[in-house]
């Protein structure tokens, strides 16, 4: 089947919807057929948010089936873990390392899982992982809210996305308010340039030791 499936996950308020809509807009401009499935409402109140973008001529279903994501873009480490069922051994992961602990874990006295543990599980599914500190780069770009744009730059550098890099960048700029255009451009480029580093970062994360 002619399809390219991107799952975008994160926490309510992180801009998951923005990423999926940018990809959708850019896809249309590239003449691709596309379905972008969003969830609004209740789930967005600081809860886990999951959106999907499906590209390709035979795409009908709004959602991605389990095991069929080509790319999982996660704005938060454990959110990638939560959606592992959508991955297969070939799936590419792009993970923002900026941890956001669910408020509930403090109330219940639990702990946020160790980075090594999270990556052991991701690596058990697929070896194609990019890890990036998008918050750091977004701050460098002068706007912490551009973490999602950093991530878009990063996945654009992987060359697997069937969307042209310049077009993607242009689409972002067209969709944000004027005063945020400059920081978004910088954020995109910073993400784009971090590709090799992100690959190394992910593979350098050691195995979990008790």
């Amino acid at each position: 089947m002619d399809e390219f499936n991107i799952l975008i996950v994160g926490v309510g308020g992180q801009g998951v919807l923005f990423i999926s809509e940018v990809l959708g807009e850019a896809a249309i401009k590239s003449g691709l057929n596309v379905r972008v499935a969003e969830i609004h409402g209740m789930a967005q109140r600081g809860g886990s948010v999951i959106c999907s973008v499906r590209l390709g001529k035979d795409v009908y279903s709004p959602t991605i089936d389990e095991g069929r994501a080509h790319l999982i873009l996660s704005l938060e480490p454990i959110e990638a873990l939560r959606q592992l069922k959508y991955a297969n051994t070939e799936t590419d992961f792009a993970v923002n390392m900026n941890k956001i602990a669910p408020p509930g874990i403090y109330v219940s006295g639990k702990k946020y899982p160790k980075t090594s543990l999270i990556f052991d599980r991701l690596k058990a599914v697929s070896k194609n992982i990019l890890a990036i500190d998008a918050l750091k780069l977004a701050n460098e770009a002068g706007n912490p809210a551009t973490q999602n744009t950093v991530m878009l730059g990063l996945i654009s550098a992987s060359k697997k996305l069937p969307i042209n890099t310049q077009l993607l960048k242009k689409t972002i700029v067209a969709l944000v308010k004027k005063k945020f255009q400059e920081s978004n451009k910088i954020a995109f480029d910073l993400g784009f340039k971090s590709y090799e580093k992100s690959k190394k970062y992910a593979s350098s994360i050691r195995r979990y030791q008790k």
Binding site: M1, V34, V36, Q44, G67, R82, P102, V107, R121
Partner: protein
């Protein structure tokens, strides 16, 4: 996120639109004049968009107090000759159903499209009812789009059909149609002339029994015509494939899954796709199934199509075997996926089961901490719940309601013992109080107060129920995205204060207090719970997110490292998402903190202070 400008001015080309935006575009191309709705996920963006563009496009759009009023307004407009649209979430149609069902008798003159947006899997709802039943209950036609393009086209067709049959038309989406974006081809926006006039016709429009009986006969006649239209409708079509033995019948979003499942399993089954799904095209269905050996019906939620196809097939001498939910091959709850449909098809046709891609059981044995939705940082509801907990504790039953405050059931606050539907808090609290012979607490939001609570308040006054009604007034309809309501004063709207409404309903004890005034609010609640009859306490404080959107910021709070003993009281008592632990120390995230100061109030060490 389409630019509104493009949505209302482009005459050609393609736009990426959600199903809801596509309905708006369809309404514009279809010459809409009036729109009315009460918000509700997944329908909300329809009225939000129509409201925003109303002036520019030259239509009347309003947020009505509830779905029944919205539908009544839209009916009045349509009976007076205007094309009108009324959108609501699935449960909204329950509220509007009294008007809806008799409206089918009177019918309309201008086109009336009623959008019902269902929510399989309860993404944002209290139930997953299947509103396809409403088409049958009222006996009105229904369209079910499978994507945004169809959502646009069917909206236009629904206006036309509505005028042809002089009946309201249901346009049914589900979450995955309303909130999925796809390409939509635009057509020119033409001026559609309409003639607005109320032509008096008592026999048709005044539903006393004598007239109603006649109009019921007429409705049945209209629907006979509707059946013919359905038989010939281009929306009911067959996607032909090679198989001579197997066929699939489906509609709406499940068509998408059925299409992909058919391809991936290599079934080569022909698919009968029903876009105008009521009245069912009986002859077309008979023609489709008569030479088949096996027919699989793919539909989410209730086995409606399946039952009807079964009964239609009974007139055949040689009947195919029909598979679906009644044969236990498909689930009767939750939304579908291609995988679920593949497994249903495989089971029906006794194919080998689909192998799992990877075995996750080994990898995810240690479960990932869950992340349910929570009250936002600075949410005034948190303060209200804290006040309730510290004054009444678990001594009384909390009948709560639909809105952000339903999130109060999460730890650590855990306030909420009974929640059914919008406005039910007052009525249920009255019943609990009456039965337990003690006061009960009703918790209700400001928008919900206006939506469906006033009759229950009158009832409590009249019948002297010992309920303490806590109106959590955050000055907006927060859960669905900050729509105004009658209590909200805006430049163009004069607000109707809830306290005046309560007094007007005859409530003797009515107080307004800011939930950030903890001591003051605690006193008022203690007084109220001792009363003999109903009381109304309005906890008024603006929603923190809504306030931020208006550009108002308060300085964040900060924890003094020196004074904090990491006792975790702030975290364990309040559960605010802005308070977290960094390197074993409690910290406040100054980007998330809205500066409400509740944590400072409760900190036993007084270690939390506002920054400047």
């Amino acid at each position: 996120m389409v630019k509104l400008e493009e949505l209302i001015t482009s005459h050609n080309g393609k736009l990426l639109l959600s199903g809801n935006e596509a309905i708006v575009r369809g309404a514009i191309e279809g010459g809409i004049k009036v729109a009315a709705a009460y918000p509700g996920t997944p329908s909300t963006e329809i009225i939000d968009t129509l409201f925003k563009i109303s002036k520019k496009v030259g239509i009347y759009a309003e947020y009505s107090t509830n779905e029944k009023v919205a539908l009544e307004l839209a009916s009045g407009a349509a009976i007076s000759g205007a094309r009108a649209l009324c959108s609501m979430k699935h449960v909204g149609l329950n509220v509007a159903s009294d008007a809806f069902i008799t409206l089918a008798y009177t019918g309309v003159r201008g086109g009336l499209v009623i959008v019902t947006a269902d929510d399989p899997s309860c993404w944002s709802s209290q139930n997953e009812q299947d509103n396809r039943y409403y088409a049958r209950l009222a006996n009105v036609p229904m369209f079910e789009p499978s994507n945004s393009q169809e959502a646009k086209e069917m909206t236009i067709s629904a206006f036309e059909l509505s005028e042809k049959l002089e009946l309201p038309i249901l346009l049914r989406t589900t979450t995955r149609i309303s909130h999925t974006l796809g390409p939509v081809s635009l057509n020119p926006i033409k001026k559609i002339s309409s003639h607005e006039e109320f032509v008096r016709d008592t026999e048709r429009f005044v539903m006393v029994p004598r007239n109603a009986l006649v109009m019921h006969d007429k409705l049945l006649k209209k629907m006979e015509k509707g059946l013919q239209i359905s038989e010939d409708s281009p929306y009911n079509k067959i996607i032909r494939k090679e198989s001579k033995k197997i066929g699939i019948i489906t509609s709406g979003n499940p068509f998408n899954y059925a299409y992909e499942a058919n391809e991936r399993l290599g079934l080569k089954a022909s698919i009968l796709k029903l876009g105008m799904s009521f009245p069912l095209p009986v002859q077309q269905i008979l023609d489709f199934i008569k030479d088949l050996k096996k027919v699989i019906v793919v539909e989410e939620l209730e086995p409606i199509l399946e039952s009807e196809v079964r009964s239609i097939s009974s007139s055949l001498k040689q009947r195919p075997i029909i598979y679906g939910k009644l044969t236990d091959n498909f689930p009767r709850n939750r939304e579908y996926s291609t995988k679920i449909v593949m497994s249903g098809l495989s089971e029906s046709l006794s194919l080998k089961s689909i192998p799992e891609n990877i075995d996750l059981t080994k990898i995810t044995s240690n479960s990932t901490p869950s992340r349910p939705p929570v009250l936002c940082p600075g949410c005034p509801h948190r303060a209200s719940f804290y006040i309730l907990k510290t004054t009444l504790g678990k001594r009384f039953i909390y009948c709560t309601d639909i809105g952000c405050y339903a999130l109060g059931i999460q730890p650590p606050l855990q306030i909420g013992d009974l929640l059914i539907c919008m406005g039910a808090s007052l009525g249920t609290a009255s019943g609990v109080s009456q039965t337990l012979k003690e006061p009960a607490v009703a918790i209700v939001g400001d928008s919900t107060f206006f939506h469906a609570s006033i009759p229950a308040l009158l009832n409590a006054v009249y019948n002297k129920h010992r309920i303490v009604v806590l109106v959590l007034d955050n000055l907006t309809t927060a859960m669905t995205g900050f729509q105004p309501h009658p209590g909200v004063e805006l430049t163009e709207y004069e607000g109707i204060p809830i306290e005046e409404v309560a007094k007007g309903c005859g409530v003797k004890y009515v107080k307004v207090v800011d939930p950030m005034d903890i001591d003051g609010a605690q006193k008022i609640i203690k007084n109220a719970i001792a009363l003999d009859g109903p009381s109304v306490i309005i906890m008024r404080h603006i929603c923190s997110i809504y306030e931020r959107r208006q550009g108002v910021r308060h300085d964040p709070y900060k924890i003094s490292e020196k004074d904090c003993t990491d006792c975790l009281a702030c975290i364990k008592i309040l559960g605010c998402p802005a308070i977290h632990i960094v390197e074993e120390r409690v910290k406040i995230n100054d980007v998330l903190c809205c500066g409400c100061g509740l944590c400072a109030h409760i900190c036993p060490q007084k270690a939390i202070n506002q920054t400047e």
